[in-house]
């Protein structure tokens, strides 16, 4: 008999508790060690690049670093101060430096983002920087009357710091008034919020259509015998494996004015030869093609949930007198909810950030927020593109977090 109060030890005399803890720590380290190479890789090629891009959305030094003197004047005088002779003198100094270094263009571009149509004012003044002589205010006004406009000075003030919230204001359809207060832009110019809303509405619509199309076939696949179901499953998986560009191409071929669908409709006499349907290069095209591309992402989670629903529940309901509709509504549908949630969230997340399909078949009114980001990248308006990306990213990550909470990413299945 051993003494019950003595601590348990391993054969080499260490306390068992400590030995177990050490072994557990070792096992954890070993597991982490296996993941570490990939984690570092993803950090470098994914997390850091996106972090840098986000940095661009509130960091734009192109005016502040080229106009240090006037930036110092702005820092020393509160918002709303009337620009005095010292301010104009500082600005003249900066303009002479910009002309010498040929950097007026990038500085002008930065101010232009905050107040459109100031680009030419700044480049013109920089070209004539040699004429600037005291008294500076009169010299500036001689070059252009706009220098007396307080809005121009306010735009320069908000450009005079490298870190700025201006681009988020623009992305949310706000602007700074001449006295520095934040206000909504006029109704007609509110494009960004509208496009965000449109992206969300179209994605929701596509998600609903996908659900309506996926539900019947997932149910059929789940109730058919395994051999037949596997065969039919190929029809779902083949689109999944086919190149996105191939699928987009075939839809263009099918849906265009002289395409297969229109030709068939004309041949059947459903539409006249003169008024063929416009099915592509517009919002309709975006919806049809994206539905086709995202449909498998809805079918697969629905199928995996429906397959394990025991058919005996429905039979029990029927034997207790429920009609087939009641059985479906009260017994079957509630059991498929996890699949509906998983599929709908996944399709919605993927749809919100979609780029390729709208770019190719969206025409003018079928563009989504991703396409606008691309547009601003193309125009080298990087800070605004980054601010729009940041807003989109926040939305997508929130949905992703929700997906992880409700479904769990480890439940994600591919085929």
């Amino acid at each position: 008999m051993t003494d019950a109060t003595a601590p348990l030890t391993t054969t080499d005399g260490r306390p068992l508790k400590a030995a177990l803890a050490a072994a557990g720590a070792r096992a954890r380290r070993r597991a982490l060690f296996l993941v570490l190479p990939l984690l570092i890789f993803v950090m470098i090629t994914f997390v850091i690049p996106i972090g840098q891009m986000l940095h661009q959305s509130f960091y734009n030094p192109y005016f502040s670093r080229n106009a240090p003197n006037v930036a110092a004047w702005f820092a020393g005088n509160p918002v709303g101060t009337e620009p005095d002779e010292a301010a104009y003198a500082a600005l003249a100094e900066d303009f002479r430096a910009m002309q010498a270094a040929k950097t007026a263009g990038e500085a002008a571009t930065r101010v232009n983002y905050t107040l459109p149509e100031t680009r030419s004012l700044i480049t013109k003044t920089a070209r004539n920087a040699g004429d600037l002589a005291p008294p500076y205010k009169e010299a500036f006004l001689a070059i252009d009357k706009k220098w007396a406009d307080p809005a121009v000075w306010q735009a320069m003030r908000s450009s005079s710091t490298a870190y700025t919230s201006d681009f988020y204001l623009i992305a949310a359809d706000f602007e700074r008034a001449a006295d520095g207060t934040v206000q909504k832009v006029p109704d007609k110019q509110r494009i960004y919020v509208k496009l965000f809303i449109k992206t969300f509405i179209l994605s929701a619509l596509i998600t609903v259509i996908c659900l309506l199309l996926a539900f019947p076939i997932a149910h059929l696949l789940a109730t058919l015998p395994m051999a037949k179901a596997n065969l039919l499953m190929i029809l779902v998986l083949l689109p999944f494996w086919t190149s996105l560009l191939v699928r987009t191409t075939s839809w263009i071929v099918l849906l265009q004015q002289k395409g297969v669908v229109n030709e068939t409709f004309v041949a059947l006499g459903l539409v006249g030869d003169g008024n063929r349907l416009n099915l592509i290069y517009n919002q309709t095209g975006t919806i049809i093609v994206m539905t086709h591309i995202l449909l498998p992402f809805m079918v697969l989670p629905l199928y995996s949930v429906m397959r394990v629903i025991p058919p005996s529940y429905a039979r029990a309901a029927r034997s207790l007198g429920a009609t087939s509709w009641t059985t479906f509504r009260r017994i079957y549908l509630p059991q498929t909810l996890p699949g509906i949630g998983a599929g709908a969230l996944l399709v919605f997340i993927l749809a919100v950030g979609y780029y390729i399909t709208p770019a190719l078949v969206g025409g003018a009114d079928g563009q989504l927020i991703s396409n606008l980001i691309d547009f601003h990248m193309d125009k080298s308006n990087w800070s605004l593109a980054a601010a729009l990306s940041a807003l989109l990213l926040v939305g997508v990550l929130l949905l992703y977090w929700l997906y992880d909470r409700l479904v769990g990413i480890d439940k994600l299945k591919l085929g």
Binding site: R28, A31, P37, L38, V246, T249, L392, I409
Partner: protein, 310 residues
């Protein structure tokens, strides 16, 4: 799904309507992919079935678009001698295919090796912070591609800027494209390999150890053969992801670094010609082959792991 014998006429009618609806949805899924195959053999430069095609007149069909596909960019497409060498070196689409294959190959290797290692770690019960790490590793699949491409565009122009130094560029390099595509392929490898490992019987490892195998032998002789089908499916997914990726390439590659999707993208944006359908047909055939391999692998994996059915 058989109709129960107690079904009334209304239910019977609904049942057949339901089957019809399902048939139409399957048609919606598959028809767009199949319809381009015959259209790519069109003898006319149209995107619809001509009279001759519908009556199966051989004159309505031709290989002209496949011919056009190969001869674009060739110096002497009609030459008798040196045709093959000319095609191999100069044909625009052949060069794009070579680039796609090279990029896809290296991206797949990178994604598969790193992804499999990580999946092995993630599947261990003692893995700390599993949920967060998994979420980070899967996120390249979830984050919109335009955001990833934009980030890479800034990052690649000076990869060392975060260390406040300069070390060349990754834009316009194949290395840059490979790294980007590997990142995009990683989630697929993680998902397939962890799915295979989820059914893995951990006692096999202890059995191997008790029989005297060291961890390396255990991995190569016991674990690896069992999860190999999952690894190969993951690799195929990663390859397809790279082979079909166009947005990152548009943002970070040089204009002369063409890949097949980029060529298609340009073709669709500028002037869509039936030659695109010929490429599309070839790609559909490839995806059928890939799907078949993955299906076979999945069945093999299920059998090896003793899982029956789906």
């Amino acid at each position: 799904m058989a109709l129960p014998t107690y079904a009334d006429p209304l239910e019977r009618a609904w049942h057949y309507a339901y089957l019809l609806i399902c048939g139409l949805i399957f048609l919606f899924l598959i028809a767009p992919i199949l319809v381009i195959i015959p259209l790519s053999f069109n003898a006319e430069p149209y995107f619809t079935f001509t009279e001759k095609m519908l009556t199966f007149d051989p004159e309505g069909y031709s290989l002209r678009w496949y011919d056009a596909l190969v001869s674009v960019g060739m110096q002497a497409p009609d030459a008798e001698t040196g045709w093959w060498a000319d095609m191999w070196r100069n044909s625009t689409w052949v060069r794009a295919a070579k680039n796609s294959l090279i990029v896809g190959f290296w991206a797949t290797i990178l994604a598969t090796v790193l992804g499999t290692l990580a999946a092995l770690g993630l599947s261990r019960p003692e893995m700390p912070y599993r949920r967060v790490i998994m979420a980070v590793l899967i996120s390249p699949m979830i984050v919109p591609i335009i955001i990833i491409a934009t980030g890479l565009f800034f990052f690649y122009s000076n990869p060392c800027s975060i260390l406040a130094t300069s070390c060349g560029k990754l834009t316009s390099t194949y290395t840059g494209i490979v790294l980007a595509h590997a990142t995009l392929g990683i989630p697929f490898v993680i998902i397939t390999v962890t799915a295979t490992l989820s059914g893995f019987d951990q006692s096999l490892i202890r059995a191997a150890a008790s029989l005297g195998a060291n961890p390396r032998t255990t991995f190569f002789k016991v674990v690896m053969p069992l999860i190999l089908p999952g690894i190969i499916s993951g690799a195929l997914f990663a390859f397809v992801t790279s082979f079909d990726e166009v947005v990152a390439v548009l943002f970070i590659a040089a204009p002369d670094q063409q890949t097949i999707p980029r060529q298609m993208w340009n073709g669709i944006r500028e002037q869509i010609s039936p030659a695109i359908l010929a490429v599309a047909t070839i790609l559909v055939v490839i995806s059928i082959a890939l799907l078949a391999s993955v299906e076979l692998l999945r069945r093999r994996s299920d059998r090896l792991r003793g899982v029956t059915g789906r």
